[in-house]
């Protein structure tokens, strides 16, 4: 059995039909059902093949640059005056975020399945860039769907994708953001299902995506376990990660699920404040429903229509969340909270000035919660914050907020 597949004593999800308790499952049109069954079959086969994981590990080591450091943020810790804060440096990965862990894995799947055409959805553009990158490397045709509003606010990443040879398809339906890009990707997949592999960027979507994306991203938590044993001689006391779809958070949390003493905290995008309704925090302020192929906590109105979300961070601007987070919430195994745009921006500046690390606005949400929580905890408490991506892509957004024209 590969070390990549973590087996918990008390937690074995998803079940055979792809459910995490009442969450998850496969809710798509019939045209895509056989493709998902085939993907599941192929993954079940490959995940027991040591050669598959050997290639995955090789790529992560030599192409992505793993393992990423677990860095003791000494000045940030002093500033907070409480728990010792460690940063898991996913921002140092090739392409600048944790997203590439997943695209490497899924590209290997696509190749094994003989697919020649790759599609993906993207919000902030990080997953789009990570997908375009692996497609370029494997010489596969690549189409990335992106809301026209996101294309506007993430023009640098759009240019990167085009440089990498991807075709960026603007989506102007619905709210013209990530959720609509995902709708369009599903439509494309139903049309071109024979030769196309859909690389979903987060732990959402229909089964088996939440499972396989989790397995690929679990490299984050596996490394943290090893590194914390080596660096501090024990496991950390708490884990903090931002949650949009939730792939970096699941990647960090999943290997720790059986370690009950380790607190796991997911931080959602509180936008202008939960009370304003202008946020992207379904776990904090939503209810269960069905969207994009799975049952999970959602933001919808009384008639079941999906609401438009708001976050300063395009990568968290999504009305759903991975179904496993919904399950971990209901199991009370993980806690979920939200921080506002303003708190995230303040944390962005604090980390930049105290440690010389410019975080992505997504990751700044996790940092913001750490800044609140750490001062309330004793000095022996060890907290690991997942720094899921770097902030280069967000400089335009922050400059615009400061009324600076670049």
């Amino acid at each position: 059995m590969s070390e990549h597949l973590i087996h918990h004593k008390t937690y074995d999800f998803p079940d055979q039909s792809g459910h995490f308790g009442p969450f998850g499952g496969i809710f798509v049109g019939e045209t895509l059902m056989p493709a998902l069954e085939e993907l599941n079959r192929q993954y079940e086969r490959l995940k027991h093949d040591p050669a598959f994981w050997a290639e995955f590990d090789y790529d992560l080591a030599h192409y992505v640059g793993r393992p990423s450091p677990l860095y003791f943020a000494e000045r940030l810790t002093k500033l907070c005056g409480g728990a010792r804060i460690f940063l898991k440096r996913e921002d140092l990965n090739h392409t600048g975020a944790h997203k590439v862990n997943n695209t490497i894995g899924q590209a290997l799947l696509a190749r094994a399945m003989g697919k020649t055409r790759i599609i993906a959805e993207t919000g902030a553009g990080q997953h789009g860039v990570a997908t375009a990158t692996v497609a370029a490397r494997l010489g596969l045709e690549c189409h990335v769907f992106m809301g026209v509003d996101d294309i506007q606010r993430q023009s640098a990443n759009v240019f990167r994708m085009k440089m990498l040879g991807a075709n960026v398809v603007g989506v102007s339906s619905g709210s013209r953001t990530l959720k609509d890009a995902m709708n369009e990707a599903l439509r494309d997949w139903a049309t071109n299902v024979d030769n196309t592999y859909y690389i979903i960027g987060t732990v959402a979507g229909p089964h088996p995506y939440p499972m396989l994306v989790r397995d690929f991203q679990s490299v984050i938590g596996r490394e943290v376990k090893e590194q914390s044993m080596k660096q501090i001689g024990r496991l950390p006391d708490s884990l903090v990660a931002c949650v949009g779809g939730g792939s970096n958070a699941i990647g960090l949390f999943y290997p720790f699920i059986d370690d009950k003493q380790v607190r796991m905290i997911g931080v959602e995008a509180g936008g202008l404040g939960l009370e304003t309704g202008k946020h992207a925090a379904p776990l904090s302020a939503g209810q269960p429903g069905v969207l994009h192929g799975n049952r999970t906590y959602l933001m919808n109105d009384a008639d079941g229509q999906i609401l438009e979300t708001h976050s300063v961070s395009a990568g968290l601007d999504y009305p759903g969340v991975g179904p496993e987070h919904s399950w971990l919430k209901d199991l009370h195994r993980a806690e979920y909270t939200a921080v506002t745009d303003d708190e995230a921006l303040a944390a962005f500046r604090t980390l930049t000035r105290s440690e010389g690390i410019i975080p992505a606005l997504e990751s700044s949400h996790a940092v913001a919660h750490a800044l609140k929580l750490a001062p309330t905890l004793p000095a022996e408490h060890v907290m690991v914050v997942n720094l899921s991506g770097r902030g280069d892509k967000d400089l335009h957004t922050v400059a615009a907020i400061d009324n600076i024209k670049l």
Binding site: S17, G25, I26, F27, V28, G29, E30, T31, L32, M33, P34, A35, E37, S173, G174, K179, D180, M182, N183, L186, R187, A190, T191, N192, V193, D194, P288, G289, V290, L291, H292, G293, R295, L298, N300, A302, D303, G304, Q305, I306
Partner: protein, 270 residues
């Protein structure tokens, strides 16, 4: 005998095939939708598929997407769609009505509440495009117990194992998706549809409807030769999209606007 089964039995007795128009409820508004339903029956429709809107219609092409956006802009809800059916039933007790849409509005209302309200309004069947039979184990028994038919999709990609399972869960009729893609696509291949329908016949005695990509009288007539029912959506919605958001259309005006259905009827009966 259910209204849907009765409808297909009568058609068969007369050697005719069913013509099933799909329209999005609330486009351009609920009053016009009610008028359109009667106009469609007057033009020769046998059964009506009434779409209820959802903000994220990931299995629909641009024509239906825009119809749904127009409907949502008018604040159409699942409850207001059920009210349209109730009003339709006050003057038409014969034409079966099948609700078609996505699962989340139904989940939000609650399975039992939805089912009771649908039956009370006079709905005959339900087709939820993003609820495959595997995920229908909670809702399906509730609907069937209440007398609602559960219609499922079969696609060109469906393998024999899936086809068998789907047919087992289906009632009323089976909806065969004629092509890989979304609603309103244009690459209908009648020969391959015929082959796949023949395969499908081995699994079920239920009537077989064919939809996706049927756009004119000619393609309707071609499909009517090989299927029990012809479903037309996007081509009709393109005509409905020309209507303005006003509720003063006369029956004659709405019949004229949907004359495509009359043309299809004529071609299918020829």
């Amino acid at each position: 005998m259910s209204r849907i089964t009765h409808c297909f039995t009568e058609l068969k007795r007369h050697g005719k095939k069913a013509l099933i128009p799909y329209l999005t409820a609330g486009d351009p508004n609920v009053a016009t939708t009610l008028g359109l339903m009667h106009a469609l029956v007057a033009n020769g429709a046998d059964l009506i598929e009434l779409g209820f809107p959802f903000s994220d219609p990931s299995a629909d092409g641009p024509v239906v997407q825009r119809a749904i956006e127009r409907s949502l802009a008018k604040k159409t809800t699942l409850r207001s769609v059920l009210e349209i059916v109730r009003l339709f039933r006050t003057t038409d007790q014969n034409t079966p009505v099948v609700l078609m849409g996505y699962l989340n509005p139904v989940e939000c209302m609650g399975y039992q509440t939805f089912t009771d309200a649908a039956v009370a309004a006079g709905v005959d069947g339900v087709l939820l495009v993003d609820m495959p039979p595997e995920e229908g184990h909670d809702l399906q028994p509730i609907m069937r117990k209440a007398g609602l038919e559960t219609i499922y999709l079969v696609a060109p990609t469906s393998n024999p194992k899936r086809i068998a399972a789907i047919c087992k869960q289906s009632s009323g009729y089976v909806y065969y998706v004629s092509l890989k893609g979304v609603t309103g696509a244009s690459h209908l291949d009648v020969d391959s549809v015929a082959t796949n329908l023949a395969r499908l016949r081995e699994y079920t005695a239920l009537p077989l409807g064919v939809g996706f990509g049927i756009r004119d009288a000619e393609s309707a007539a071609q499909i009517a030769k090989i299927a029990d029912a012809v479903v037309v959506g996007s081509a009709l919605i393109n005509r409905i999209a020309e209507l303005k958001d006003q509720d003063t259309y006369t029956a004659a005006e709405l019949e004229r606007q949907t004359s495509l259905i009359a043309d299809m009827r004529k071609a299918m009966d020829r």
